[in-house]
């Protein structure tokens, strides 16, 4: 596996195991439908699960699978193993998010049913350090994954293919 998705160990035994989007297992966030699991070393698995949901609510793309959000956020766990300040920023920020969700909806953030309801909660914390950090990091770590570019139609590097001179630089046909 390539470095940027190394954390997502495939767990084929879990394929089709449940209808829930995520499961929490010992030390891991597991997505049975997409057949991957993200092991966490420093953060609580529930925290990583909530971070992934938060990331999707910040930059929702219905055609992008959860694993790309997970890859984009993996470093929060990796860095938290040696960065206590980061770890507490994340754990406390997510605890606050869940607290707000419980006050409004009686559930954890990830269990709030509608995106608009979760976004309303995010709006309350969007000036806070965790949100700022997650959003500003995600705008690079999500959209700079070459694997997501095809979803947007973006083709990436072109010089190795000789540019677009003979590959459709002027092929628009509907004008």
């Amino acid at each position: 596996m390539k470095d940027n998705d190394v954390s997502l160990s495939r767990r084929s035994l879990l394929k089709g195991a449940t209808a829930a989007a995520f499961m929490i297992s010992a030390g891991a966030v597991i997505n049975p439908l997409e057949a991957w699991g993200l092991e966490v070393k420093a953060l609580k698995p529930e925290t990583m699960q909530t971070l992934i949901q938060m990331a999707r609510d910040i930059y929702p793309h219905d055609r992008i699978a959860d694993r790309f959000y997970a890859v984009a956020l993996k470093e929060y766990d990796t860095k938290s193993t040696s960065d206590a300040a980061l770890k507490s920023l994340v754990e406390e920020g997510i605890a606050k998010l869940d607290q707000l969700a419980k006050e409004k909806h009686g559930t954890r953030y990830v269990d709030v049913g509608w995106e608009s309801q979760r976004v309303a909660i995010l709006r309350e914390i969007e000036k806070e350090p965790l949100f700022q950090k997650v959003r500003s990091g995600l705008v690079v770590s999500l959209y700079n994954q070459k694997e997501v570019w095809p979803v947007f139609g973006y083709q990436g590097e072109s010089a190795v293919y000789g540019g677009y001179l003979h590959r459709g630089f002027d092929d628009i046909d509907w004008l």
Partner: protein, 522 residues
């Protein structure tokens, strides 16, 4: 073969910076037989090193050393330590530029006379006219191989251009073309024609786009009169008791400091670093910094009135394919004050890759309004607005209290839009959106200016020493053997992308410096 000069050789011309101004000046001087050392703060990356990847290329080429910002411009909020997207590498921002090569218009050299006294603006006529610069524009266009000059064919239009052209004509614009570009439309000067690769901003992998890195500097080096010293970050300029400059002190890659002696020093570090260097060179004789008896060093910072309009259609455009900026509407470039502002603007095609579109479409935005725009990336067309902004004394590069890796105070860039800039931008957003709506756009995005790419005016030319920093030759009013050779010498900004004018001024300045040295005046 490239020269190698001794640090104690005080007969050399030392140029700080290797971009459009410094790279051209150094090459011209070398071709005239003058021993020249270009000190470049960045590394030397050749064509094969360039990367077709926006963030990786940014990490390779961009000036990422600390800078600070202030003022009401949105860049200060969104990119507080990145006021400008310019380059720290041999070739300077000519590695990154898009290639648009337009001459200034006649009236743009005398805006104080034509526009009048605009409240809050520090307008001044240039000490030169278009007529004086025309022979040098001709030389610049020839050596850069500008399309639609010298019998060179225009570039073909890409998908983004075709949408742009059809929309422009639909709303009545007439001066619409793939522009005058310093990008080969066919093989020329030992470089190939454009392969429509995109990634013009990341360094052209084919060398079809003119850059001092490979189109000028090697010619200077071949004379044996030019040495380009990369990773040589100039910290200060030194002078003798008479006030004349004697050399510079620079830090190498390891941070070790060296003193390069010089007969003449020319500063070409772009409009943020050049005034910073003059200010950081303050001494007992020049307590306010070098060349600063007017107090104008660092003032009148201009960045062009810019912005972008992106539009989404119901079918694919794939704007990223092909030349990034080969498309221009010039109908709004004239001074037509009945529009509610002075000066004019150009509309030019532009595209960003998906990673930079995410970062720059609406910095800080999140949620579905933002992501649904990106979901339509493949169906997007885009244009850039570049217009004349008003010089203001308070828009200014000053020394911050923060220090860089060498212990030198970094530049703070302060900027507020002038009401004229705001009125012009609003007009351009309306026109750009109308173009795209005329060909079926379902949604348009008036996009905020990016970190500055056109940095101008902070060491401006003036007829009289009290109004500016340098004379009509880019020579300091205060110190005869100290020159400014980049866009910071612009008295006003014009509506045109500045590189062609920087190159024309550098060619002209080389003649002057050679003449003055020949007469032993400097």
């Amino acid at each position: 073969m490239a020269a190698k000069f001794d640090l104690n050789d005080d007969s050399v011309v030392v140029i700080v910076g290797s971009g459009a101004g410094g790279g051209t000046l150094g090459t011209e001087l070398a071709l005239k037989g003058i021993k020249t050392v270009i000190l470049e703060a960045g590394a030397r990356h050749e064509i094969e090193d360039f990367i077709n990847d926006e963030w990786d290329s940014f990490a390779q080429l961009a000036w990422a050393d600390m800078r600070t910002t202030s003022g009401s411009w949105r860049v200060a909020r969104d990119f507080a330590n990145l006021p400008a997207w310019i380059v720290k590498a041999v070739g300077g921002s000519t590695t990154h530029w898009a290639g648009a090569s337009l001459r200034f218009q006649e009236h743009e050299f005398r805006t104080r006379s034509v526009y009048g006294d605009i409240k809050g603006a520090n307008l001044l006529d240039w000490p030169i006219t278009l007529k004086e610069l025309e022979p040098y524009y001709e030389k610049a266009e020839f050596r850069m191989g500008v399309t639609r000059t010298n019998g060179i064919a225009g570039l073909p239009g890409n998908n983004n251009y075709k949408v742009f052209e059809k929309g422009a004509k639909a709303i009545g614009y007439q001066d619409v073309s793939t522009g005058r570009m310093a990008i080969n439309s066919d093989e020329r000067d030992g470089r190939p024609g454009c392969q429509q690769s995109g990634f013009c901003f990341q360094g052209c992998k084919f060398g079809a786009k003119w850059s001092t890195l490979y189109a000028e500097i090697p010619k200077g080096e071949a004379t044996g009169n030019l040495e380009v010293r990369p990773n040589a970050h100039v910290l200060r300029i030194e002078h003798d008791a008479s006030g004349k400059v004697t050399g510079v002190v620079y830090a190498d890659k390891e941070g070790n400091q060296h003193r390069q002696k010089a007969r003449v020093v020319a500063v070409a570090g772009n409009s943020i670093e050049s005034p910073r260097l003059l200010l950081n060179s303050a001494s007992s004789i020049y307590p306010d910094g070098l060349a600063n008896s007017s107090g104008q060093v660092g003032r009148n910072y201009m960045r062009h009135m810019t912005g972008s309009v992106y539009a989404v259609f119901d079918r694919p455009v794939r704007m990223w394919r092909g030349t990034t900026m080969a498309g221009i509407v010039r109908d709004e470039a004239d001074h037509k004050p009945d529009r509610g502002f002075v000066g004019g603007y150009e509309l030019e095609t532009l595209s960003l890759g998906l990673p930079f579109m995410a970062a720059f479409l609406d910095p800080g935005a999140w949620g579905r309004e933002f992501t649904s725009a990106l979901d339509s990336y493949e169906n997007m067309a885009g244009l850039w607005i570049v217009g004349e902004d008003m010089p203001q004394e308070s828009n200014r590069v000053t020394l911050s209290s923060e220090k860089d890796q060498f212990g030198m105070r970094v530049a703070n860039v302060h900027f507020d839009d002038h009401p004229n800039d705001i009125a012009m931008r609003a007009h351009a957003y309306r026109q750009g959106s109308a173009m795209y709506e005329a060909v079926g756009a379902t949604r348009t995005f008036p996009t905020t200016p990016y970190p500055s790419t056109h940095n101008l005016g902070t060491n401006r030319m003036s007829e009289t020493p009290r109004d500016g920093v340098v004379n009509k030759w880019g020579q300091s009013h205060d110190i005869p053997n100290l020159f400014v050779s980049d866009g910071s010498q612009f008295t006003t900004g014009g509506a045109e992308n500045p590189t062609l004018t920087i190159v024309a001024l550098a060619i002209r300045q080389a003649e002057y410096i050679a003449g003055q040295m020949g007469q032993k005046v400097i």
